[in-house]
């Protein structure tokens, strides 16, 4: 009966390895192994490809279940003493196989190239690089060069999808052959038992997949952003061991797996209690092996529990989750720029200008700001309605009302004109922006009015300053705004009266132009269009 159960676990493992091969093959049809594309392609599978999240989830969680069942299988063999001759070869091959499976999981984690995978990889490669003598070479071979980059992704990809699975397949076949060499009576019910075990294993995988909606994907790898890296759960005990080992941590991280592996591998050699029936003399070995398991399990639990109780970390992780959701939302909406996954943050429409607005303009120009000093900038700014309202009350609260200028004699006087002349004048000013929907007849009448009513102070010619007030040539055009933002204090604009700082040093011409483009867009935009631009 013990044997039957053992075999059952074994077949469940083989089944899950096949599941990994199938889901992995499907995923490899989507995965792009390069530092610029890796995250984007994973995000695509996760969020956009039909059932991609499901396949990816199965692929990830099946690995966890494989490792759990492997542990049980191993424990089972230890308890039953079947690591001894004549099954010692199966035992050794099995240990090697478990090592390879863990390596496959570790090499797979970095492929998503998100913060978690990237930083965990950095730490792991750092530890491997601490190996005496050959450390540097090992590190460079793992990274594919001097630093994490394209060749790191391609290398780990090669290991994860070609080299290690090939090895695993060979070892699996060998393991099964060695294990079966020792004949056992066939039981007619066994195939059904095996199938039930496979079904239970798959149910466990699917439960994990559904409860976590597949598997998470963090924000794209960012070498400039702090990330509290943690390894995958099944090597968590090493992380904890390092933590406990203090200055000897590197040694601990390198030596512990070797010690554990060594002890397990040595079992068939040191345990000479003969046939499976010699149970009584076997307890020291069984005790040592199960003790080892218990320690590993305890370290894992302690480590995870400590994180769970660390409020600072929980808060930081919540922020990371939010960032991930944002990045993935942008990736789904606008696609990831071919220049790399970090540029996804810059994909919202007019992102650059809106970022500048939020950091440089908002305080003085936003309706919602309590530090406002200048005219409100909002949808409709510079449009016909806005121009008319401005002309009628230039020193009103929403316009120059909060400026120092408004309280001086230099302040502009309200324009008083009959309604039809007012619309003509507005059309003339509006036409300066270069907007396509200008009523030419109105504009020309408006220009005549401007000549009479405004030229005492203003001018309308291109590049011409007014006598005592801003030149209005090109008012509201992209060029006008670019220049104005660069230096509002220049003679052609507000001159010394302006309280607005110059931005020609702080912002590049590209940034000022982006800002100008945004202002032009705002002119004909509505509030709901502004909202529809989405978060930055």
């Amino acid at each position: 009966m013990i044997n039957a159960f053992l075999r059952t676990l074994g077949w469940a493992l083989v089944f899950l390895l096949v599941v990994e091969a199938i889901t992995g093959t499907a995923l490899s049809a989507f995965y792009a192994p390069s530092a610029t594309d890796a995250w984007a392609s994973v995000a695509y599978v996760q969020d956009r490809a039909t059932w991609g999240w499901l396949v990816r989830g199965i692929h990830f969680h099946a690995a966890s279940v494989i490792i759990v069942i492997s542990g049980l299988h191993l424990l089972q063999v230890v308890l039953a003493g079947t690591y001894r001759k004549p099954r010692h070869q199966a035992w050794w091959v099995g240990l090697g196989l478990l090592g390879i499976i863990i390596a496959i999981a570790i090499t797979g984690f970095v492929l998503r190239w998100d913060q978690a995978g990237f930083w965990a990889n950095k730490v792991e490669v750092g530890i491997a690089g601490g190996t005496p003598i050959i450390g540097d070479t090992v590190r460079e071979l793992a990274l594919g060069g001097n630093d994490q980059g394209n060749l790191t992704v391609t290398r780990f990809h090669m290991l994860h999808v070609v080299a290690l699975p090939a090895l695993a397949a060979i070892l699996t076949v060998l393991h099964v052959r060695f294990a079966r060499k020792v004949g056992e009576p066939r039981d007619a019910a066994q195939p059904l038992r095996d199938l039930v075990a496979m079904a239970i294993a798959m149910a466990a995988v699917l439960t994990l997949v559904v409860s976590q909606h597949g598997v998470d994907l963090g924000p794209p790898a960012d070498p400039a952003q702090a990330y509290d890296a943690r390894p995958l759960w099944f090597i968590r005990w090493l992380f904890e061991l390092r933590h406990l080992a203090g200055s000897a941590e590197k040694l601990a991280a390198l030596a512990a797996p070797a010690v554990v592996g060594g002890i397990l591998a040595a079992l068939p050699i040191v345990d000479r209690s003969g046939t499976p029936e010699g149970r009584a003399r076997r307890w020291p070995y069984v005790g040592a092996a199960t003790g080892l398991f218990a320690v590993i399990a305890a370290l894992t639990v302690v480590s995870i529990a400590r994180d769970a109780n660390n409020d600072a970390r929980n808060k930081a992780m919540a922020a990371v989750d939010k960032q991930a959701a944002h990045a993935r939302d942008l990736a789904s909406r606008y696609g990831v720029p071919a220049t790399g996954p970090l540029d996804v943050y810059a994909t919202p429409p007019m992102w650059r200008a809106r970022t500048i607005y939020a950091t440089r303009c908002r305080d003085c120009h936003d309706a919602a700001s309590d530090k406002r000093k200048g005219p409100i900038i909002a949808p409709g700014h510079g449009g016909r309605a806005w121009l008319e309202a401005f002309l009628k009350d230039p020193n009103g609260a929403t316009f120059y009302g909060k400026t120092k200028l408004a309280k001086t004699d230099n302040a502009m006087k309200p324009v008083e004109l009959p309604a039809s002349e007012m619309t003509d004048l507005v059309e003339a000013l509006y036409a300066e922006s270069g907007a396509p929907d200008v009523d030419v007849a109105k504009r020309d009448r408006g220009r005549a009015i401007f000549e009479k009513a405004c030229t005492d102070c203003h001018a309308l010619g291109e590049g011409v300053a007014g006598t005592s007030a801003p030149g209005l040539g090109g008012l509201g055009s992209r060029d006008y705004y670019t220049h104005y933002i660069g230096n509002p204090k220049s003679a052609i604009h507000m001159g010394a009266d302006s309280e607005m700082p110059r931005f020609d040093k702080e912002l590049t011409i590209v940034e000022r132009d982006a800002m100008a483009g945004y202002l032009v867009w705002l002119r004909s935009a509505t509030n709901s269009q502004l909202d529809a631009l989405g978060p930055l």
Binding site: S34, G144, G145, Q148, G149, N150, A224, H243, G340, K505
Partner: protein
């Protein structure tokens, strides 16, 4: 057919392993050489010139400010990219034109170091560093934060020379 003479058998054995081994070598050697290329090669190239991080006035005296270090161009094996964020540095203005600049890369295992208002703190394994960069007692990091070379240009802009250092060593040496 008569069994081969001992001499002949020896020859056949030798020839088989020679031809077989040679064939194997021809296949495996180039592949290994290709993979071994990685050792000692600089695949990720980042500029070594000083990088402008802003006007001096941008930095308040004594409060560390985190700046991102943006390289004009970085090549990574077969790609090149412009305006790449290389990492971050903590800049503390100590006087009119004097600064203290630390790489935000933790000297322990390379996580990004934060500033908690009083001292620098690494979230990964809890190393703490004093304002002046020294590792606090109890830190797993074996050395203090790595200072970065920097200068102030004639027109008052701070420039930082970005560098990465070997992780988890007592002395600071370039990586």
């Amino acid at each position: 057919m008569a069994p081969p003479k001992p001499d002949r058998r020896k020859f056949l054995k030798l020839a088989t392993s020679a031809v077989g081994g040679g064939l194997g070598l021809i296949v495996v050697a180039p592949a290994l050489r290709l993979l071994g290329e990685a050792a000692g090669s600089t695949t990720v190239k980042t500029p070594i010139d000083p990088i402008d991080v802003g006007a001096v006035e941008r930095f308040p005296v004594d409060t560390p400010i985190k700046v991102t270090i943006v390289a004009a161009e970085v090549t990574d094996a077969w790609t090149s990219a412009r305006d790449v964020v290389l990492g971050a540095a903590w800049v503390r203005r100590t006087g009119d034109k004097s600064f203290e600049v630390f790489s935000a890369v933790c000297p322990h295992l390379g996580c990004g170091v934060d500033f908690d208002g009083k001292q620098f703190a690494c979230p990964c394994h809890d190393s703490k560093f004093a304002l002046a960069g020294a590792a606090q007692p109890g830190a797993v990091a074996k050395r203090g934060l790595d200072s970065l070379e920097h200068d102030v240009t004639a027109d008052g802009r701070l420039r930082i020379t970005w560098a990465r250092f070997a992780l988890d060593t007592e002395e600071k040496r370039p990586a």
